[in-house]
């Protein structure tokens, strides 16, 4: 298997093509622009569709149309653009359409800046648009994992008829790392017999829709969605625990922040502090099981994020008061150093 050196955004694009993505619709925004540029170059050569939409709103609705027509489809953007897509994401969830949405997060609120951030966690994991719904959220922390999770994202989307978000950040999108595009056996996925392809001899018409005027019917529909979300929560939560075997303290971080936090954990280890790292890979469903696993021996948790504290709420919900939960974050595109986090680990030990 050949190793190639690639930028995160371009590796993601290549992985999408290999995962069978037929259509891409997007709108230019920094720091994800290499992704659409790669697909603009490659899609026409490899039998796919690349279309630059007039807006983020149009792009996500093009995704709706193509997903409803039964093909694998993706869009990508960065924070302010993802805000604009929320209407479409709500409709996609209501109509149960599979698709992959990439958010290479940057600093906010408003126009913010173009530096890396993790401040769209609430938006990504709590729905983001109107209505009772959830999207699956995957948070890679290396270019290789980004590639691997793209295949999973398309499979999960088709499996559950639900949008899947890949939540990256400006560093992950921009940095270069060696990657291998592994051949993967195709997963057994349900047939898309619901897709609007034209009746083509079919008796009944297929309809893609999120309108249920009768509240009894809408409640039934939402309960059906809820059951699906419960199944996803039971089956799809993923995480990694590093240096956890003898650990008494745990840092919790995801994405690029977990890479930095891991370096801090190594420093603390050298200093004799028994600390481990919990790295959630799915942000929704949140991997509560990771905390159950370590709680018998954990004295305290330190959540580190590129935000002023968003995932920390899920950490607290998982720990349920059984141990102290501390927080350290930088915001607005600032990234903490391993030394800064190391200092926080020392503080945690001192406090508990």
């Amino acid at each position: 298997m050949e190793k190639v050196l690639m930028k995160g955004n371009e590796a993601l694009a290549e992985a999408a093509i290999r995962a069978g993505c037929k259509c891409f619709f997007g709108y230019p925004i920094t720091p994800q622009s290499e992704l659409p540029a790669y697909l603009a170059r490659e899609m026409p050569k490899r039998g796919g569709v690349f279309l630059q939409a007039e807006s983020e709103v149009a792009a996500i609705n093009m995704v709706y149309g193509a997903a409803g027509a039964g093909v694998r489809v993706m869009t990508s953007s960065s924070s302010p653009g993802i805000s604009l897509k929320q209407e479409g994401i709500s409709y996609l969830c209501g109509a149960e359409l599979p698709c992959v949405i990439v958010n290479i997060m940057r600093g906010g609120p408003g126009l913010g800046d173009i530096q890396p951030a993790q401040s769209d966690y609430f938006q990504a994991t709590r729905g983001g648009g109107h209505g009772d719904y959830r999207t699956i959220v995957l948070a890679p922390s290396s270019v290789q994992e980004l590639v691997d999770l793209v295949y999973d994202a398309f499979d999960l989307a088709d499996m559950y008829r639900n949008p899947v978000l890949i939540l990256g950040d400006g560093i992950l999108g921009q940095m270069m790392e060696p990657v291998v595009f592994k051949e993967r056996p195709a997963r057994q996925l349900p047939p898309k017999d619901w897709a609007t392809t034209g009746k083509m001899g079919r008796q009944k018409t297929n309809v893609i829709n999120s309108l249920y005027l009768d509240p009894i019917k809408l409640e039934e529909h939402n309960l059906k969605l809820f059951k699906k979300y419960q199944e996803i929560e039971a089956k799809e939560a993923r995480y990694e625990i590093l240096n956890g075997d003898d650990a008494e303290y745990f840092v919790v971080a995801y994405g690029i922040c977990a890479r930095i936090a891991h370096a801090a954990v190594e420093m603390a280890r050298e200093d004799g502090i028994k600390v481990g790292l919990i790295r959630p890979i799915t942000l929704w469903p949140y991997p509560k099981k990771a905390f159950e696993e370590v709680l018998p021996k954990a004295k305290a948790f330190l959540t580190v994020e590129l935000s002023l504290g968003q995932m920390v709420e899920d950490v607290k919900l998982s720990v349920e008061g059984r141990a102290p939960v501390y927080f350290y974050g930088r915001t607005g595109g600032m990234v903490p150093t391993a030394e800064e986090i190391f200092e926080e680990i020392k503080k945690m030990r001192g406090l508990s």
Binding site: C23, G65, A66, G70, G88, G198, K199, V207, N209
Partner: protein, 247 residues
């Protein structure tokens, strides 16, 4: 016995929710007749709007998607790009197409997106109870222009066909009035032409139909038809605004 009149195959055997005297039922029928005549029912995907025609997916007997408000041309673009050999149409009202969905319609037209748009212009928001639309006439009273549309406050109506005719993308743009048999037949001939353009791969086609809304105009059905004929056509002149050159 010879059948001289029947329900088009491309319409579902169901009652519609449209008000008495509303133009939507007639326009649905025209679209369905054209689908039957062109033999495209089986390979057509329609996109329903938000507005009075939101339930169009219950009425057309073909695969349908329901789009967010104004986004039907983007949704149709997604379908058509994914399945280029199928026939894709949107069915949209004036609020959906000319207010909240202005960007989507203009850019679908500019791209020459190979879809067909049925644009129902009744100069008012019907479903929400009669508010001012982007095509509401100057002086026209609505729930949100109770003293009549005042250009100083609320500007002027948008002429969609004329605006889109400035673009190179569209292959066929026409406006008809739903007022009498002659004009209803003309509307149907435009709709047929629009679908034929798509089948020939000529790019974006749109038919605007001036349609009565007696309920929200506060008129009897016959008076509403007269208002289309006497008032709307003055602001929105019927005719063909763009068509391919012969030869």
């Amino acid at each position: 016995m010879k059948v001289v009149f029947e329900r088009p195959k491309s319409l579902q055997p169901t009652k519609t929710h449209y008000c008495p005297g509303c133009g939507h039922g007639v326009i649905h029928r025209l679209v369905a007749e054209v689908m039957d005549e062109l033999g495209i029912q089986d390979k057509t995907i329609g996109v329903a709007p938000v507005g009075c025609a939101v339930l169009a997916y219950n009425y057309f007997d073909c695969d349908m998607q329901q789009a967010a408000h104004g986004r039907a041309p983007a949704v149709a673009t997604g379908i058509k790009r994914a399945l280029p050999d199928r026939v894709v149409f949107t069915y949209q009202g004036d609020g959906d197409l000319a207010a909240i969905g202005t960007a989507e319609i203009v850019h679908a037209a500019a791209r020459g997106e190979n879809i067909t748009v049925i644009f129902v212009n009744n100069a008012i928001y019907g479903m929400t109870g009669g508010q001012m639309a982007p095509t509401t006439l100057v002086g026209q009273k609505t729930e949100t222009s109770p003293y009549g549309r005042d250009p100083q406050m609320a500007g002027y109506p948008i002429r969609v066909c004329e605006m889109l005719a400035t673009l190179d993308g569209p292959s066929f743009l026409a406006r008809a009035e739903l007022t009498d048999v002659k004009n209803i037949n003309k509307a149907k001939s435009y709709i047929k032409k629009a679908f034929e353009m798509q089948l020939l791969g000529k790019g974006f086609s749109l038919v605007e139909i001036l349609s009565p809304c007696p309920t929200n105009w506060g008129m009897k059905p016959k008076d509403a038809v007269d208002w289309v004929k006497n008032e709307m056509v003055k602001v929105f002149p019927p005719g063909v605004f763009k068509e391919p050159k012969e030869g």
